[in-house]
């Protein structure tokens, strides 16, 4: 079955330290991978996506993600965390040209500690 997994419900990082939010996927064919962030009582904001090409994708607010086909991973990273990065992060996949829907992971709550 096609799926996306976020193995960590919560990640705590000290401000200024690098952060990683993990995501692995299981799809047949070529995956189209996305990261979204959700702030409290707000909608989902698009951060970045991987379609094809360079495995390192740069997105909004200094975030980047690395597509690793052999490990079927698409981890979200940022070199230096800010307190304002604290939010709920969703990894998502869209896996077939015929389907419109995005399949979301369960989400990872990121806490940046001052």
């Amino acid at each position: 079955a096609q799926s996306v997994a976020q193995p960590e419900d919560q990640v705590n990082v000290a401000e200024g330290n690098p952060l990683t939010v993990k995501c692995t996927y299981s799809v047949s064919g070529n995956p189209y991978l996305f990261w979204y962030v959700q702030y409290p009582n707000r909608g989902l904001q698009f951060l970045l996506k991987y379609i094809t090409g360079d495995n390192l994708v740069k997105g909004s607010y200094g975030f980047e993600a690395e597509f690793n086909k052999s490990q079927t991973s698409f981890h979200l990273k940022k070199p230096s965390a800010l307190v304002s990065d604290s939010a709920l992060y969703f990894c998502a996949v869209r896996y077939t040209p015929r389907d419109d829907k995005i399949i979301f992971g369960k989400g990872t709550r990121l806490h940046i500690l001052p």
């Binding site: 909608g43 969703f90 015929r98 419109d100 995005i102 369960k106």
Partner: protein, 116 residues
């Protein structure tokens, strides 16, 4: 930049009532998607429209219906509301250059529906 607009932002209904949620996509976006996010859950796809035609369908109850109008805005109609329908309902839009899965979906702020 213009974003997806959803109205109302909050809605309180009684069981068995009906509700209509509206979505106004980003200008020049031709595809609209509806998602439902229950408390503490990830968003679940309900239905989508491309150029006013239904293009994909997910786990949308038969009590719900939706359509996209000539100005590309969309409405989600929900009847015989149940307690379990309480959720955050997101609309997203995209511009389908090639109809490919790489199109980015931009989400609105959501409508929080509470069924009492």
């Amino acid at each position: 930049a213009a974003g997806v607009i959803q109205s109302p932002r909050h809605l309180i209904k009684e069981k068995r009532e009906t509700a209509t949620l509206k979505c106004y996509p980003i200008p020049r976006h031709d595809t609209v998607y509806w998602y439902q996010q229950g408390p503490g859950q990830d968003p679940q796809f309900l239905i989508s429209f491309y150029e006013k035609m239904q293009s994909d369908k997910g786990s949308i109850p038969d009590r719900f219906s939706a359509q996209q109008f000539s100005d590309y805005h969309s409405e989600l109609n929900m009847s015989s509301l149940e307690l379990g329908d309480s959720a955050l309902y997101f609309c997203a839009s995209s511009h389908s250059l090639s109809g490919g899965p790489g199109d980015t979906q931009y989400f609105g702020p959501g409508t929080r529906l509470t069924v009492l």
